[in-house]
Every structure is written in structure tokens, then in C-alpha cells.
């Protein structure tokens, strides 16, 4: 291992994070692999989508670059989720900052290799946003222990790894499109506004039982489309 990169070997970028035998199909052969130090390598790793574990470890070690990687990976999604809830760009920035700081400060409790980093971060992001609109509307009493419970890293252990992959993005959009109007409405009120079922009943002027039926129906459709285990 060289202390400083020496930029003379052939261009060899690392694009996969799984070991495979070298094949003659590669156009360029690997030479001087131990000197192959390239920032792009880091990017390639980041993009490989398989280094959550490594990233979580680096966060635990408080490596500043880990924060940069975390942001590059989930910043846009976290910002989008928060903005969708609070609908105020500058407030959304504050809450994204709060989210990343919280992850940074709590990464020590996160189990690298078993925890799902993205879902954890996005849960924290949405919680920050919902907490904010609730405190502004003083609708529901703030209950920080409740948030702490919902963000507890242990809940993100062994969660499906592909919750945030591209396929899921497509599938969830299709699934949302399959909801009927009432089902979509209650899901939106819960997800974007954090309304409880009682609050929805008031807002939509419907009996609580009807709201519960819609919510249950909506979740059933979503779970079925996502191929997720039916918990309800």
C-alpha cells in the first residue's frame, strides 16, 4: 500500500463490489492494483449500493467523509420527503440538517451490516417534518419519547435491503395509482400531514370506522404490490 497515490498505472476503475474472477473479456487488465487509488473508486463504491455496512461503520467512527457520502446518497430523498410535508424550502433545509445531525449523533447505536441505513434516515427525516407541523398546529401533543421509539435503530435491523431501490420506486408509484380515491386520501393525510384516524374522521366528515376500513384497505393494496409481508 502506498501512502500517496501514484498516477501512472492504466485506468482501472472499480465498478463492482463483489469479487469475481478476472475474465479475458476485460478490455484492460489490472496492473499495479495496489497503486490504483482514484477518487472515482470511492464514487463507484458509493454507487454500488452495497456498502451501507461500510458507510455505517465510518459514521460510527465519525469520519466526516462518511457524512458527505451519506448526504450524497440520501440527501435528495430526505429533502424531498421533508419538503413534501412542510412545503417550505428554507424550513426543509433546517429539518434536513437536523436529520443528518441526528443520524450522525446516533450512529453508534446502529448495527452495521444488519441495519437498513436509508430507511432509518428517512424515518428520522419524516418524523422531523411531522413533528414540526404538529408543533406549529399544536394539533397533537408532542411526544418525543414516541419519536425516539419509532426511530430506534433496532427496528431497522434485518429490514428488507431493497426498500429503497429503483424497482421499489417504480412499484410504489404503480401501487399508489391502484388505490381508490378514499384510500389515497387517507394515506396522504397520514403520510404527509401525520393525521391520526380520529383527525381524519373529523377532516373528512366520516365515521371513524369508515376511515379505518379505508386505511386498512390502502395498506393491504400497498403491501400486496410491494410484496411485503402482511402485518395487518
Amino acid at each position: 500500500m502506498h501512502a500517496a497515490p501514484a498516477f501512472s498505472p492504466p485506468l482501472v476503475l472499480v465498478l463492482t463490489s463483489h469479487p469475481y474472477p478476472f475474465s479475458s473479456q476485460q478490455r484492460y487488465h489490472l496492473q499495479s492494483a495496489d497503486r490504483m487509488i482514484l477518487p472515482a473508486l470511492i464514487l463507484a463504491l458509493e454507487l454500488s449500493g452495497e456498502h451501507d455496512e461500510e458507510l455505517a461503520l465510518r459514521l460510527r467512527r465519525k469520519e466526516p467523509q462518511a457524512m458527505a457520502d451519506l448526504y450524497d446518497r440520501f440527501g435528495r430523498l430526505a429533502y424531498s420527503v421533508i419538503l413534501a410535508v412542510v412545503r417550505d424550502a428554507s424550513l426543509a433545509e433546517d429539518l434536513v440538517q437536523e436529520t443528518f445531525l441526528r443520524v450522525w449523533n446516533r450512529a453508534h447505536a446502529f448495527e452495521p451490516g444488519r441495519g437498513a441505513l436509508g430507511p432509518w434516515l428517512l424515518t428520522i427525516a419524516r418524523n422531523r417534518a411531522i413533528d414540526h407541523i404538529r408543533s406549529v398546529g399544536s394539533r397533537m401533543q408532542r411526544n418525543s419519547s414516541e419519536f425516539d421509539a419509532r426511530e430506534h435503530p433496532s427496528l431497522f435491523v434485518d429490514m428488507e435491503r431493497d426498500v429503497l431501490n429503483n424497482d421499489h420506486a417504480r412499484i410504489i408509484r404503480l401501487a399508489m395509482a391502484k388505490l381508490n380515491e378514499n384510500q389515497r386520501k387517507v394515506i396522504e393525510l397520514a403520510y404527509y400531514e401525520g393525521l391520526s384516524q380520529t383527525e381524519m374522521a373529523d377532516r373528512m366528515d366520516q365515521p371513524l370506522g369508515t376511515i379505518k376500513t379505508w386505511v386498512r384497505g390502502a395498506l393491504k393494496v400497498l403491501r400486496a404490490e410491494l410484496g411485503q409481508e402482511a402485518a395487518a
Binding site: 501512472s8 492504466p10 482501472v12 476503475l13 472499480v14 465498478l15 463492482t16 476485460q26 484492460y28 487509488i37 482514484l38 477518487p39 472515482a40 473508486l41 464514487l43 463504491l45 454507487l47 449500493g49 461500510e54 466526516p64 467523509q65 458527505a68 450524497d72 440527501g75 435528495r76 430523498l77 424531498s80 419538503l83 433545509e93 434536513v96 440538517q97 443528518f100 445531525l101 450522525w104 430507511p119 428517512l122 424515518t123 411531522i130 421509539a149 433496532s154 427496528l155 431497522f156 434485518d158 429490514m159 428488507e160 426498500v163 429503483n166 421499489h168 420506486a169 417504480r170 410504489i172 399508489m176 397520514a190 391520526s196 384516524q197 380520529t198 395498506l219 403491501r223 402485518a231 395487518a232
Partner: protein, 229 residues
């Protein structure tokens, strides 16, 4: 309450919209590591997380990244770029990663194309004037590095699979101008690609579209990636 009575409120709990008594009951079951409620709530959290993908994606302002990194950087103002190399040195080979590269330079091939490509890519990445911009889901994930004097490096994963006879084409979009073609490339079998285009670039944005083999003088399809710099 028993687990059976709580099941239908797992999702509400996961969204933070459950009400008492279910809310506190579920919390209590989780606190005692209930064998039924923990996996049930975990599954509900996965569903709620998936919903975040249905949210319309918006690019955060560029300053937000700086702001967040400033929270954890030991020396304020230090470029994050400088954090890459030490990490690369220590971690790169611990990960047993492997390898591939097939840049298709827009320049005539040199005697040792690999070496040429390497140097050019490094030059672009090292150029202090290089701007970089990341893009994310749903189309693909990756990053453009644009040096005004040297060229563009594009690196991406999760690129879509192309039909036969189609290719990716890179576009330089000048401020207020028409897209300028910047060469064509294909992805590797694992849907990743590294591509670079050599030469001065004046870009307000970069784009990638899918075009017929050989490329087009102007995009003929809606670009799959458009990234402002």
C-alpha cells in the same frame, strides 16, 4: 392489549399516527421485545419507508450540502475532496473490489489507451475548477465532474438496459443554448458506466439520453438524466 388486537395499528404506529390506547400499547410491546410486534412493526416501517419513494423528488439547494458538512468538518472550509484520498488508501483494498473500465474517449486512441484515459480522468478530477453534480433515483445514480478546460467525467450505476441498436449519449447544455453532443457510450453488464469526454466544456447542465447507435446531433428522446451544475 394482546398482539392480535394491535396488529391493525402497526402501520399507524409506524407513521406516528396511532392513538391511545394502541399507541402506548404497541410502544410497550416493542420495549419488551415482543416476538410478534417487533417484526410486525418493522414490516410496517418498511412499507412507510417505501412510500417516501412516491414523493416527487426535488433537488435540494447546493448550499445545503455545505451546510451539513460544515457541522462535522474538523476544519471549516476544508474541501471535502481532500477527505477522499486518505480513505481510499486505507479502505480501497480491504474491500476486495474488482475492476473494470472501458472509457470510450472521444479522442483518437493512444498507444496505451488505458494510461491515457487514466491521466485524463485524474486531470479532470484534480482540476480545482471542476464542478461536480450528483443525480439520483429514479433513472440512475451517479455524478458528473465537469472541468471547464479539460472535459467531463461521468460515472453512474443502475443505468437502464438498452434495446439493441440504442446507445447512451451525453449532452453538454450551455446556458440558454441547445444541447451539444458529447459522445456515446454503453453501460457494462452490471448497469454501471464510466465515460469521459475530453475538451473544453461550457455547461450550465449535463444530460444523458438514449439514442440510436452512433448518436444523434440533437436529442431525439427525453433525456433520462438532466443535472444542473
Amino acid at each position: 392489549m394482546n398482539c392480535e388486537e394491535l396488529r391493525s395499528d402497526y402501520a399507524a404506529w409506524a407513521m406516528g399516527t396511532a392513538e391511545d390506547p394502541e399507541r402506548s400499547e404497541i410502544t410497550a410491546h416493542l420495549e419488551r421485545d415482543c416476538d410478534v410486534c417487533v417484526p410486525g412493526v418493522r414490516s410496517a416501517l418498511a412499507t412507510v419507508t417505501s412510500m417516501s419513494l412516491a414523493v416527487r423528488q426535488v433537488d435540494p439547494p447546493r448550499r445545503l450540502r455545505k451546510r451539513i458538512l460544515a457541522l462535522v468538518m474538523p476544519e471549516p472550509g476544508k474541501s471535502w475532496f481532500s477527505f477522499w484520498l486518505p480513505w481510499a488508501v486505507s479502505a480501497a483494498f480491504a474491500l476486495a473490489l474488482l475492476i473494470v473500465v472501458i472509457p470510450r474517449a472521444a479522442t483518437p486512441p493512444a498507444a496505451h489507451p488505458g494510461e491515457t484515459a487514466y491521466k485524463e480522468v485524474i486531470d479532470i478530477l484534480n482540476d480545482p475548477l471542476t464542478k461536480d453534480a450528483a443525480f439520483g433515483e429514479p433513472a440512475a445514480r451517479g455524478r458528473f465532474f465537469v472541468s471547464p478546460s479539460k472535459g467531463v467525467v461521468f460515472i453512474a450505476a443502475h443505468l437502464p438496459t438498452l434495446d439493441p441498436g440504442r446507445t447512451f449519449e451525453m449532452w453538454v447544455i450551455p446556458d440558454g443554448g441547445k444541447p451539444i453532443p458529447a459522445g456515446t457510450f454503453h453501460a457494462l453488464p452490471d448497469s454501471t458506466a464510466v465515460y469521459f469526454h475530453q475538451g473544453p466544456v461550457s455547461a450550465a447542465a449535463m444530460a444523458i439520453s438514449v439514442e440510436p447507435d452512433g448518436g444523434s446531433p440533437q436529442p431525439t428522446t427525453t433525456p433520462i438524466i438532466v443535472t444542473k451544475l
